[in-house]
């Protein structure tokens, strides 16, 4: 039933501590497809399963039951090596807490995915510089993460997510730790990437200013997708 | 205590590996200590058991000379010595002159083979006389001094030394010899076999007929067990005068022996007897058991230096190891420990947690190390006992005395305590506690 979806979930469940008294159904039968060009926002209260959903879409985790497919191929059947390759070339992650490597400079953080992909050193430095310039922190390329402001850190993280020109960008509350001015700069960058390369974007957020920019909206409650609430 | 145990339980893998590491180091130290104690104890026990309290040798013999390969020149007037020594020092219970010499032994089969052809051509390949260390003594004089036990046949049983006959060397010869089981087996001797003995060592079969002509024949009266007194495994035991006559030059003026073994009635102060005897016999040197053990000790010390080095390295590695693990533990619990301080626990209390954890690790290490050490020492003993020939029954290279065990326990505790120092300092300087206090 591949209708061109980049990644899709069918009746996917993700259960933690199955069978134990503290069993958690973080995802409870979710069906969702992300297609090229999508710009999707995911909302929902804390603990509703948004991050769990994103982890599955990002091939970081596997469903306990149901299906997870990448371009039509069932992901649980792929070897870990192949999933790693797909993450490297197919997916760019942007996290709420940025997750830059503290021992690498901004430039090295951005170059890291290209290094993993075997891009020659000189080329990846050039491209990392370009990316940093695109997100507007070219002046801080030699700085370590702790020497950057939150907004700068997140911009470096976005540059890193874009490094291998992935067809899918996943962002988990990318503006959660930023004030509104910086938040909108960051969202501008994500939106620009979406428009320029046609990459599909899934953004998890509580922030209406952020979700408003998306074309499609879903909401989660207790591990299930529910129709998105009214837009203001 | 609960806190320390809890910290260890939280990381079972790390705790297990650490215990194994400390345990191995402890086992190494235990083995080294046990070997050192074992050799010393065995040597001491044997020396004490031997009944020999003093050794008499020729003048100016020093043990340092002996250890550099110099043999003792013989003592003269051997037969008269026991009485003279007992008279000079009433505390001398018995004194036994021993002549030790290396002789060549051949059996009757070889004799017949040699007689069957003139130039020894009938001697089957592989047949040759055997070299054996020979002791000539006066059996009566060995009172209180350990001699080998007879396994088969009898010992030399005539009173005194019949052939000597007050220095005339024309008394009746007994022609009796006792051989040890190793020699008996080597050339096929049993009680009543005839054996030929000579100082000369033939170079090959063609010399054998001349050799038998110059050799003296003896009758084997008994076969004895191994004798640890002498390092050789092949032994023959004769009456002193009869061995002197084989060695040659036996006459009243050169009535010689290699040494005199002295057994004391009261052996608590051999030094006093040493002084008394040295004054009475200026041509002789008297050596106490302590001197002998001291000389042995010097040789052992050289090996011990390296043993200590090995043990120290083991302890050092284990200590650094434990320190690192405790440091990790402190880092892991920075928040907890800081919180304890915030809630109002004293520095001493927080420090105590770290030390306790160190000691708990030590105890676990000891638990692992003890069986390893015991097993390792047992195997080492087995190995050495197989490698070293001629060991007396009951000789053990290792001994787990209470002192050894105590040292082992102390060593492990020291590892735990010393290793706790750096982590302790770290725990006491917890930055969060400082920050909270300053605020």
């Amino acid at each position: 039933m591949n209708d061109g979806a980049t990644v899709e979930l069918v009746e996917a469940r993700r259960v933690f501590h199955a069978g134990a008294p503290d069993e958690v159904r973080a995802l409870d039968g979710v069906t969702l497809a992300v297609r090229p060009g999508d710009y999707l926002s995911v909302e929902g209260p804390s603990g509703s399963g948004k991050t769990t959903l994103l982890n599955l879409l990002g091939l970081l985790d596997l469903p306990s039951s149901g299906e997870l497919r990448w371009q039509g191929r069932p992901v649980p059947g792929l070897p870990e090596r192949e999933r790693t390759r797909l993450r490297l070339h197919g997916i760019g992650f942007i996290f709420q807490r940025f997750y830059l490597l503290p021992t690498l400079t901004a430039l090295e953080n951005v170059a890291l995915p290209m290094r993993a992909a075997g891009v020659p050193a000189s080329e990846r430095t050039d491209r990392a510089r370009d990316l940093l310039a695109r997100v507007g922190v070219e002046g801080r390329s030699a700085a370590f993460p702790h020497q950057l402001s939150g907004g700068e850190e997140q911009r470096v993280a976005i540059a890193r997510a874009l490094a291998n020109r992935p067809p899918l960008l996943l962002a988990d509350e990318p503006t959660g730790e930023l004030d509104s001015a910086r938040a909108s700069q960051v969202m501008d960058l994500i939106e620009e990437a979406h428009r320029r390369s046609g990459a599909a974007v899934v953004v998890v957020t509580h922030n209406p200013l952020v979700s408003r920019r998306a074309d499609r909206h879903v909401a989660m409650r207790d591990g299930r997708l529910v129709p998105a609430g009214p837009r203001e | 205590m609960r806190y320390a145990l809890d910290a260890l339980r939280r990381r079972p893998g790390r705790t297990a590996l650490t215990s194994l590491g400390i345990g191995l180091a402890t086992a190494l130290v235990l083995i080294l200590l046990a070997v050192s104690a074992g050799i010393q104890a065995s040597a001491f026990r044997l020396a004490t058991q031997s009944g020999v309290d003093l050794l008499g040798t020729s003048a100016d013999t020093s043990l340092s000379n002996a250890s550099s390969g110099l043999e003792f020149p013989p003592v003269s007037g051997a037969h008269a010595l026991p009485t003279a020594l007992e008279r000079a020092d009433p505390n001398v219970a018995s004194a036994s002159p021993w002549l030790v010499s290396s002789l060549v032994f051949a059996n009757a089969s070889l004799y017949r083979a040699v007689n069957a052809s003139a130039n020894g051509s009938a001697v089957p390949a592989g047949w040759a006389p055997a070299d054996a260390t020979s002791i000539g003594w006066i059996p009566d004089d060995n009172g209180g001094i350990e001699v080998p036990t007879i396994l088969n046949g009898t010992s030399l049983s005539a009173p005194g030394d019949p052939h000597y006959a007050n220095g005339t060397y024309d008394g009746p010869r007994t022609d009796e010899v006792v051989v040890d089981s190793a020699l008996a087996q080597a050339i096929g001797l049993t009680p009543n076999s005839t054996v030929w003995v000579s100082l000369q060592s033939p170079s090959g079969p063609s010399q054998l007929s001349g050799w038998f002509a110059g050799a003296v024949s003896y009758r084997v009266v008994g076969v004895s067990g191994p004798f640890w007194f002498l390092p050789s495994a092949l032994l023959g035991m004769f009456y002193l005068s009869e061995l002197q006559s084989v060695v040659g030059g036996a006459n009243a003026s050169a009535d010689y022996a290699s040494l005199v073994l002295i057994h004391l009635t009261d052996s608590t102060h051999p030094g006093q007897d040493q002084t008394v005897l040295a004054a009475a016999f200026p041509s002789m040197t008297f050596i106490t058991l302590g001197d002998v053990l001291g000389a042995v000790q010097q040789v052992v010390n050289l090996y011990r230096t390296f043993g200590v080095l090995v043990g120290l390295v083991g302890v050092l590695v284990a200590t650094l190891f434990t320190a690192t693990v405790l440091l990790m533990s402190v880092e892991d619990r920075t928040r907890e420990l800081a919180l304890l301080r915030v809630v109002g626990f004293s520095r001493a209390y927080v420090g105590g947690q770290v030390v306790e954890e160190g000691l708990c690790l030590s105890a676990l290490g000891l638990l692992v190390g003890l069986p390893f050490g015991l097993a390792g020492a047992y195997l080492l003993n087995l190995f050495l006992a197989r490698e070293v020939a001629g060991l007396p029954a009951g000789f053990s290279f290792v001994s787990f005395t209470p002192t050894v065990l105590l040292l082992g326990v102390l060593e492990v505790l020291a590892i735990g305590l010393v290793a706790a120092l750096l982590p302790l300092a770290r725990a006491l300087r917890l930055p969060i506690a400082e920050e909270l206090r300053a605020a």
Partner: protein
């Protein structure tokens, strides 16, 4: 977890190590201590072996004949003459060593080791170094020892001359030309007077300078004195402890020629053992190998503890790096690259430990040589640091380091990425 602000650009691996200073220093020290032990034991053991080997190689003779019995060689004069006639043999020197008492005028008994020699042959079988310690011609009256002993009988006049070791001459204060009595026992009246002809030095032994009391006397004189000339029943003994055989200078460096000569000697003395110095060296080498194994066994305990230690440290680092590893994995960095990072960390630690241990071990040997007790110091002075052995040790340690990285790498790759990122 935070690097210092002015982290110099020394490569990432080093930066990783830098901000765990205490842990790193302790780990390097522990691995270093574990490495220092085999360095010390192997270099000292190897040094002793080399020293003994050199002693064997430098001796002036190539073949020796011995028996297990004391003074067990009989017919020594005739046998030596017979060996001397073998083609290629330069000299055959019988030696009898017996402990006797020496009485200097007006002094008590001094136990000495008397070496009965045939002067010319003795001189010809000494190494150049040992010969320089001897008088240029050993003036003991009868250079070939053929006057007193001849054709199996001891009927000629004895030479009754001796040489004293310098240590002995110094203690006794005897001048050349004076008389000294040698006796088989401490009974001077059973002794025989000898003229002191001179002194000789002894080569230093492994454990320090020799201060032995030794006298050199003609072989036949010593045999007569100690009863090793004729047996109790008058049979010929002519005993010696050994016969040392030197080959012609042109053959001395040719093991096969030496082996051929040894094979020619063997049938003359089937009951004795004939060994060439090459054989002796080979058996010494196998004994040294056993000892090396023993040292390695001892050292392996330290190395195993160091290995366990390294494993723990690497586990710990994986744990501390959970987040970083999770991020890398999420980005798509391969497991192989992450394993390589851990292996590099292991190698960096073992490498630093290796350097620390080697220098520490060498330092210990140097300190032992300088400040150890005399016998320990003497042994330490001879230590050799064999590059091949040390190289093998380094390789073995590198392999250990990589093996130690295995389990932690598995742990790192088994990390659940979502959990590492939580």
């Amino acid at each position: 977890m935070r690097p210092t602000p002015r982290a110099p650009r020394w490569g990432r691996r080093f930066r990783d190590l830098r901000h765990r200073t205490a842990q790193t220093i302790l780990a390097v020290a522990a691995v270093g201590a574990a490495v220092a032990l085999p360095v010390v034991l192997l270099s000292v053991g190897g040094g002793v072996f080399q020293h003994e080997l050199a002693t064997i190689r430098q001796s002036g003779f190539e073949i020796s004949i011995t028996t297990t019995a004391d003074h067990g060689i009989s017919d020594a004069h005739a046998l030596s003459a017979e060996i001397d006639r073998i083609a290629g043999v330069a000299a055959a020197s019988p030696i009898l060593s017996v402990a006797v008492d020496l009485f200097a005028p007006g002094q008590g008994a001094t136990p000495v080791l008397a070496e009965g020699i045939v002067p010319d042959a003795f001189l010809a079988t000494q190494s150049a170094a040992d010969r320089s310690l001897l008088p240029s011609s050993i003036a003991l009256g009868d250079p070939a020892d053929t006057v007193h002993y001849a054709n199996g009988s001891y009927t000629g006049p004895e030479s009754r001359e001796l040489l004293l070791s310098t240590a002995l001459a110094g203690t006794l204060g005897i001048a050349n030309g004076s008389m000294a009595t040698l006796a088989p026992t401490a009974n001077a009246s059973a002794g025989v007077g000898f003229t002191v002809e001179g002194t000789f030095g002894l080569p230093p032994s492994l454990l320090g300078p020799s201060a032995l009391y030794v006298v050199l006397v003609p072989l036949s004189d010593l045999q007569t004195l100690t009863g090793y000339a004729l047996g109790p029943s008058g049979q010929l003994l002519d005993s010696a402890d050994t016969i040392q055989v030197s080959v012609n200078a042109s053959l001395a460096a040719d093991p096969s020629a030496i082996a051929r000569i040894a094979h020619e000697i063997e049938p003359l003395v089937p009951y004795y053992s004939v060994s060439s110095q090459t054989q002796t060296a080979a058996s010494l080498a196998s004994a040294a190998a056993v000892l090396t194994g023993f040292y390695l066994g001892l050292s392996s305990v330290g190395l195993i503890v160091g290995f366990i230690f390294l494993t723990i440290i690497l586990f710990r680092r994986v744990e501390q790096d959970r987040r970083s590893i999770g991020i890398r994995r999420a980005i798509g960095v391969s497991g192989w690259m992450i394993g390589r990072g851990i292996a590099a960390e292991a190698l960096a630690l073992t490498g630093a430990g290796l350097v620390a241990g080697m220098s520490g071990g060498i330092l210990v040997v140097v300190l032992l040589a300088r400040y150890g007790s005399s016998s320990v110091a003497a042994i330490a002075r001879d230590a050799v640091f064999d590059p091949v052995t040390l190289g093998l040790l380094a390789v073995a340690l590198g392999v250990l380091g990589l093996v130690a990285a295995l389990l932690p790498t598995r742990r790192a790759l088994a990390l659940s990425i979502p959990e590492a990122l939580r």
